[in-house]
């Protein structure tokens, strides 16, 4: 089992979730209101009321095949708008 962590701007949340649902992932969890800093941008809490919004942190527990399925689609969104995606190992309790 894998754990996929996606962090990107809230404004792309609908797009990313559509991509996940299109691939029929078994589930996902979304935490909004994250802030942070990346190679491209700084996202701070005080900007949440401007149109820009904060970041979302999405966690997906799924099999590696699933990740391979969604990889390209998600990478293309993240490359365009910014954001990161990391995979780690996990096993069900």
């Amino acid at each position: 089992m894998k754990r996929l962590d996606l962090i990107f701007s809230e404004r792309e949340l609908d797009q990313i979730l559509s991509a996940l649902e299109a691939a029929d992932v078994p589930g996902y969890t979304v935490m909004k209101h994250a802030t942070g800093k990346g190679p491209q941008t700084v996202v701070s809490e005080d900007m949440e009321f401007t149109g820009l919004g904060a970041n979302a942190h999405v966690i997906v527990f799924c099999e590696l095949e699933m990740i391979n399925k969604i990889k390209e689609n998600i990478r293309s969104i993240l490359n365009y708008y910014g954001g990161v995606a990391y995979i780690s190992e996990a096993i069900e309790m």
Partner: protein, 331 residues
Amino acid sequence: MVSNLVLQNVLTPPVLFFFLGTIAVAVRSDLEIPAPLPKLFSLYLLLAIGFKGGIELEKSGLGGQVLPTVLAAIAMSLLIPLICFVILRLKLDVFNSAAIAAAYGSISAVTFITAESFLESQNIPFDGFMVAALAFMESPAIIVGLLLVKLFAPKNRPNSREMKWGAILHESMLNGSVYLLLGSLLIGFLTAAYNPGGVEKMQPFTGKLFYGAECFFLLDMGIVAAQRLPSLKKAGSFLIMFAILIPLFNAMIGVFVAKALLLGPGNALLFAILCASASYLAVPAAMRMTVPEARASYYISTTLGLTFPFNIVIGIPIYMGLVNKIIPSLG
């Protein structure tokens, strides 16, 4: 006389609370207004501005100066981005130039209501239909910004991301803050027309509470604006100059257009402030989605970090002085 107006403006609660916020950042106080409280005030203000504007619009009808003023306002929101774009292109690429230009063509509702509060404290009358001008200036500037990208952007933008007209119109007209403002305007209009009792009952919420909520929100705006300053420094002196000189320039055009429209001094100031102010709500949201190549820190730090404070502290009284010079008071 202008310096006198500046002082009178600075000593009103909204501007004082704005200062309280900026100073909090400067002295590194840990005062903060956590999310989503600023959003609450921002939504409230848009709803209340729209609702009150709708009521006034119903009273005044669409005759007289109303339609010409709104049309002139829309024209300004189409023209200003073009001027800004030409200037910005001297130093910046197409994406950043277009995004910033769009922001300056659009408006800042909080700057507008601070100007209204200033007029009230000076006992200068103004008309409610100016809110309609405010409401209709948000979208056109966004469309111009996106058109500029479409026309002048390097042709190697990824095809899959090509801008579609539907998306452009969607972003410009259905952005949350534009939508809420226009919707509340319509509701205010309908309520005034068909349900005068409802107007009365809304009054404590949209009317009485407004000034205090404005102060609270400006406290937060002070904090946010001051936090933008460091990234402004990174943006460089060209953008800093731009963020101060362009509002002055746009306000001046605005005052002359207002004169041509035969607006009274109060309405003329509001028209000028619409031209001078820049958007940090609707436009950034639209640009983030459609022109991710533009750096958000540029259009946020210029509009929010510099133009906004400049307008509400010094700009309003300066433009008032200009209005007093150019437009003879009717009193």
